[in-house]
Chain length 274, copies 4
């Protein structure tokens, strides 16, 4: 990429902002990481009543400082990147924009409460940390394993959804009359999710014998069911770990499923092509 | 199947209702999926007191509309399927029937409360979604892995049952006198299940030192025990993933357990038959 | 075993009581299973105040009936078994004896409360169910996998114990002054166990910011730590599942680690001995 | 090591203190283990108000006795070890020092409360148990598996951190106005952690419908997410268990990744060196 000739300044900025291998690029990423963390902390602390009362001025200044810095950074990214539209529409481009928008919108539209809702999205900017991570390949493996088990996870989640709907309804029928906590089916479903996932808040609990019996079944079910997604994802991680199979097919016997390090076809013994 | 000649209309209906590959079949499945979801939502919302008070008329109309549509659909299925009795007695056939019965029974037998109990079964019709899923093979793998580990899961669940009975009784003996929450063994068992499965409602908690000590042991036990079903199911998923063994037996030495891609018997070296 | 000649009656009784393959043996096991379940249910129901008040007479009769039946069964086992002492000192022999003792001890020593403590052990007789299970091999695999991971599980549990002691002490130092729930280190440790195992009763919860921060760390730690026993046990189940290695060593090259179905040494190609 | 000639006494002390194979060394380790456990118990019991009131004198004597014994032991270790500085700066050397310091610091600086904070670190001395464990290799395997999955675990924990920050903020926006429990974002994040890790204290629970809906999503997310670290660690344990790959490289083709039992290079067929 750095071989292209697109003006030395733009080239230099691109190197600093987008690459993490050069000293300046690394320094930029570290500073950016600190700024993002600080700006997220400011949003979090701003929500604490006692701090907001005391430091509201400071929070306002900090918020605008961060917003202006990130705006300049966003514009520089748009300027120096080779394909600005592709960046702007990419995941990180969108997050970068959403991270600065709420402050500006707060100027135009009155109504602090509504503003706060959008402001929360600013926290998403922490995701930019990953860009500088040496952990990208680890993240890749996780995403790969999750993608490979997507269909199974979907079936699992749908089954869980059906179970909680049916059990939530049953619980409403059993406890509904005596227990105010189970006053309608949505509350029953909420309880079923709290129980099946072993979260167990205790804000809604069965009080009748029949309710506690059904409850016990749901708990043991949830305890056993957790094995399913774990088994699915484990299996994928292990496949990924042990047999990173390539998509190469043997030219002679068309055999597939060769491991990445295989040189000869395991079915006919002929040499595999790269 | 579509090769059989059983009248063009019946054939067409069969194609629409039972097959998901044709455009009409797909459209039918999507519409059906939306109707089922809507009907389940109506049952859930009906249970909410404030909504029932306001829209009871609407709910009644919707309930009857859905019931009539699903009744027609059920009759059409019976008409066009090649083996109506096999369908009617199959899992989906039973669910299809149970999904329409409660509304009709509500006409004959008075007593709203009792009716509601059966009505909850209608929610099971959501299972029909799976019929149109591209996720069927994923579901198959899950069921296969669970079936393969059935015996181990049963032993595990029986052991868990014994543990909670014994620990529940012990807890009743320890806390019974001082703590009203542990007034009898069934409550002790309920507590043991809540604790062992790490749900932890907190509606029943030990108050004596000895009770909290036993409680701590149960928690750590539950924390470690969860590894057993997870390990069992993981192992099955991995077997399924890595060595999908075929049922082929060698014609020469009768050796079994060959992997799907094996060409020669691993015991005697003779060629395996397809 | 049935080849030994030790009198036809004793032989017959042995067959009925100890073997599950013959029709009479199977019938005996099923009846015994029902009796054990019933007797456990009686003990559980006896503890419920309202039932005890109404049916105390019935419970007494049932308790004595079960005790007498199980006593006769125990004596018959001692009579017909080939090595009575070995049976009496085995796990099931001890459980069989402990299952009948409490009722007799209740006659000699007054004091209902104390009696109840021993009576709880009677529930252990449910373990006899396993004797007739077709699930014995599944149970064996579980036990084998757990034994193989014993050392790792011990290290894991010791580490967990250290973590909860240190965290419980830290929490006592942080919250001790302000929060009555953390009035001493044992309570802190109890809380740490409740939190780390993700049980989360909520009977003891941090109220200070620092306490909630430490709490959050413990939770995420517990959430990640659960992966360790699960990983350990999963790995053992998979080894068991995929490579059930035998202890055979090659006579020629002394190579070990051969799979159960291996016929030739994988290192030198010589035939393996049975 | 015992071949070096550094005086018979120093040699003997070294053998007793540092080696667990000789009878004296073993006896020393067992006694030390008992003393450490006792001293930890004293610290724990000291914190219980009723016991402290009654046995404060005894606790003081015991604390000083343990401190003096451990001080002598620490000095002996420094004396007999071949590289005192390396020991003093090692993990166990630091823990050994921290285990005796708090009592002495308590003499110089007044202020019991502050003293207690440091004293808690003394509990870390339990880690010395591991030195005498036959479980060291098991511990090694666990550490090896965790190290191998470090990068993935870090990415996972960072993702979890981002999720709880975003969800905690969202929950503050949804419930903040109506529910005092969600009075600021840090409390929202605390709640998100309690929920996502399935701990579920129930001290902070949503009360609005929207809050309970988001809550349900977080629970199911947490229930599914747990599969990720479990899968990661399982995969590592299995790699460790099944393919303990050596670091040997082939002398002829420089191929790596050979299993421990491999004799010939799997890439070029030449013999591997030991």
């Amino acid at each position: 990429m750095s071989n292209r000739n697109t003006g030395p300044l733009r080239e230099k900025i691109h190197e600093i902002i987008f690459e993490a291998d050069t000293p300046w690029g690394k320094a930029f990423d570290v500073v950016l990481l600190i700024l993002i963390t600080a700006s997220v902390l400011v949003v979090i602390l701003e929500s604490v009543g006692t701090l907001q009362a005391q430091y509201s001025q400071l929070f306002l200044i900090l918020e605008w400082t961060f917003t202006i810095i990130f705006t300049i950074e966003y514009l520089l990214r748009l300027y120096c990147v080779y394909r600005p539209i592709r960046y702007a529409t990419s995941f990180f481009g969108t997050v970068d924009l959403l991270a600065i928008l709420p402050t500006y919108i707060g100027l135009l539209i009155q109504g602090t409460h509504y503003l706060l809702v959008i402001r929360a999205l600013r926290l998403l900017r922490v995701f930019r940390i990953f860009k500088m991570a040496h952990f990208l390949s680890a993240g890749d493996t996780i995403i790969k394993a999750l993608k490979a088990s997507r269909a199974k996870i979907t079936v699992f989640l749908m089954t869980v959804l059906l179970i909680v709907i049916i059990i939530g309804s049953l619980m409403y029928l059993i406890e509904g009359g005596q227990n105010e906590s189970f006053s309608n089916i949505p509350r029953g479903i909420y309880w079923a999710i709290v129980t099946l996932t072993t979260v167990g808040y205790g804000d809604i609990t069965p009080i009748t014998g029949a309710g506690q019996f059904l409850s016990a079944i749901v708990m043991i079910m949830g305890y056993a069911i957790i094995a399913v997604p774990t088994g699915i994802v484990s299996a994928e991680f292990i496949s990924e770990n042990q047999n990173p199979t390539s998509n190469r097919a043997c030219r002679y016997c068309a055999g597939e499923g060769h491991t990445l390090d295989a040189i000869y076809c395991k079915y006919c013994g002929e040499k595999l092509e790269e």
